[in-house]
């Protein structure tokens, strides 16, 4: 069974490009709500509403076409990906509802059952009950979750609340877009595919919980806009630049080969055309490297700006917990740009 053949897209490649989304949302506003901490006007991972002095509600949704052929794994990745927005805000997931578009007739309903099982296993790992869902008959298979979470209103991690003097930590290797594109062409090596699937199916829970014990200034999860796209969001409207040490960024196996062969997802080109103007010294790395750094991720890792003096401890704790975290950059005085070094 080829689940991925039930979609035109490679996973997050189905996401509307950042340019298009800006066009649709630019200038759109709603009245002020005093307890609103983050809404759609900020490019946050999730919306946040203050409930009381101790608690704020996090609310997010994410769904996408199949990125792998195994329904169990697809369900798991969809859940890990949706939960990730809560973890990226520093919160703890509370409830999830499933969102399903299913090609009735074209696919056996047992496939949906397997997707739900895969998702449920990941939700259980997150201690997050599934409380319902909504499904429609849809030519193209889609699956995901809306998730709520809770966070202390004073400890919400915004994308770009930089204060300077931070180290930038990334908690999963980059390259799921390239590997899944190669897999669609039957060209992915078993090793690369296994590493990508393992990464996409891993919750960002441990990474988030370790970060919650330290001084985090800003955090996001790396998804459709690629590492540099999300780094741009972190630097945006701040007095700092986010400097990315390109040699320090961990990549999945074989992704350089896939980029060289032209197995680059369409989303990479969209990301580049929208964000290149926010990148200084792009000449520092070649076009192939840029295609890796802008590769759209599905269920990617957290990208966190932590107080520099705590970076080593954070990384050590993550490695101890089995999280393949890497120190990939730092903040420097600047003007809201991303520097490659």
């Amino acid at each position: 069974m080829n689940l991925t053949s039930f979609s035109r897209f490679a996973g997050c490649g189905a996401k509307l490009g950042p340019g298009l989304l800006d066009e649709a949302l630019c200038g759109l506003s709603q009245r002020e709500y005093p307890d609103l901490i983050a809404d759609f006007r900020r490019s946050e991972d999730a919306g946040v509403l203050r409930l009381n002095d101790e608690q704020a509600l996090i609310h997010t949704i994410d769904f996408f076409p199949p990125i792998v052929d195994d329904p169990l794994l697809y369900g798991r990745i969809a859940a890990a990906n949706a939960l990730s927005d809560v973890y990226a805000m520093g919160g703890k997931p509370c409830t999830a509802v499933a969102v399903v578009g299913f090609p009735v007739g074209a696919l056996d309903i047992a496939v949906l059952r397997r997707m739900m099982e895969g998702g449920l296993a990941a939700l259980e790992e997150a201690d997050c009950p599934l409380v319902g869902g909504h499904s429609i008959d849809d030519k193209e298979l889609k699956f995901g979750y809306a998730v709520t979470g809770i966070v202390h209103p004073g400890r919400v991690w915004l994308n770009n609340a930089l204060a300077g003097g931070e180290s930038i930590i990334l908690t999963k290797p980059i390259g799921t877009g390239l590997v899944t594109t190669a897999a669609r062409g039957g060209l992915a090596s078993a090793e690369a595919l296994a590493a990508a699937c393992a990464g996409m199916g891993t919750l960002n829970r441990k990474a988030s919980e370790i970060l919650q014990r330290h001084e985090v200034h800003a955090c996001t999860d790396v998804t459709g806009f690629g590492l540099l796209g999300h780094a741009c969001e972190m630097a945006a409207d701040t007095k700092f630049n986010v400097r990315i040490l390109t040699d320090a960024v961990p990549f999945l196996p074989a992704v350089r080969d896939y980029a060289a062969m032209g197995l680059v997802p369409e989303g990479t080109y969209r990301n580049k055309s929208f964000r290149m103007r926010f990148i200084v010294n792009t000449k520092h790395c070649g076009d192939d490297d840029l295609n890796l750094l802008f590769d759209p991720q599905t269920s990617g890792g957290l990208l966190a700006a932590v107080a520099a003096k705590q970076a080593d401890a954070v990384i050590a704790e993550m490695h101890e917990a089995g999280v393949p975290a890497a120190l990939v950059g730092a903040t420097v005085d600047g003007a809201g740009m991303v520097e490659l070094a």
Binding site: M1, N2, L3, T4, R8, F9, A10, G13, V68, D69, D70, L72, L73, D108, A110, R113, E117, T181, A182, A183, R184, G185, G186, L187, A188, S189, A190, E191, L193, A194, C197, A254, D257, Y258, A259, A260, M261, G262, L263, V264, P265, E266, T268, Y269, R270
Partner: protein, 211 residues
């Protein structure tokens, strides 16, 4: 001989895959690929350069791009004709293919008729071997006394957990678990029904009755 590919309307990575197939099939001196978006153009040019093309020509009319280059024997080889290309030394696999194939069926908690101790040792040995395989089967199905392997015997439960962690589906007959009062102690796999089990039997490339 020149070969032409119309890859208009195709999403990534299909234009590259088609170019690769055509080139790898050999028997051509020139290749021409037509695409209708910028990402496909960049990817096809990138692929042609990867095979060794020095300067692919791109002719654009609006959003339609036609990419042409001469093809040498070395390029055919690099594209996967004759010798495999570097990125595809391993057999191309997708997530399903990797787990494709067989279903193993266990209807007893021992292999074969004869000495019971030997039969139980054999089944444990077999599960150990399965847990070590680099290409494991797709599904294991347990029915009748076979459910004991997933719900009663500690050492086989551990092996089944290892097997399950590799992505193998483990189906354990719910009716049988009820019958033996073992539902509470299921240690690996998930409770299944005859509908699901029948579906697996019919959709598997092969069903092998092990015990």
């Amino acid at each position: 001989m020149k070969k032409s590919i119309d890859a208009k309307g195709l999403a990534c990575p299909q234009p590259v895959i088609l170019s690769r197939k055509t080139m790898a099939a050999g028997d051509l001196s020139e290749i021409e690929i037509t695409v209708d978006n910028d990402a496909a153009r960049e990817n096809v040019v990138r692929f042609l350069k990867f095979t060794g093309a020095t300067d692919p020509r791109v002719v654009s009319a609006g959003s339609v791009h036609t990419i042409t280059t001469g093809v040498t024997a070395a390029m055919v080889a690099k594209a996967g004709g004759g010798e495999p290309a570097p990125a595809c030394e391993e057999e191309p696999q997708t997530a399903t293919q990797q787990l494709s194939g067989k279903t193993l069926f266990f209807s007893a908690d021992q292999i074969g008729r004869g000495d019971e101790t030997l039969g139980k040792l054999l089944v444990k040995g077999l599960l150990y071997t399965v847990s070590e395989l680099s290409r494991p089967p797709k599904t294991l199905v347990f029915m009748n006394a076979g459910v004991r392997l997933a719900a009663e015997r500690v050492e086989t439960i551990e092996l089944l957990k290892t097997i399950e962690a590799k992505g193998v589906e483990i189906l354990v007959c719910g009716t049988c678990l009820d019958y033996y009062h073992l539902k509470e102690s299921l240690g690996a796999g998930h409770v299944s029904n005859l509908y699901e089990i029948t579906e697996r039997f019919l959709s598997s490339a092969d069903v092998v009755t092990v015990a």
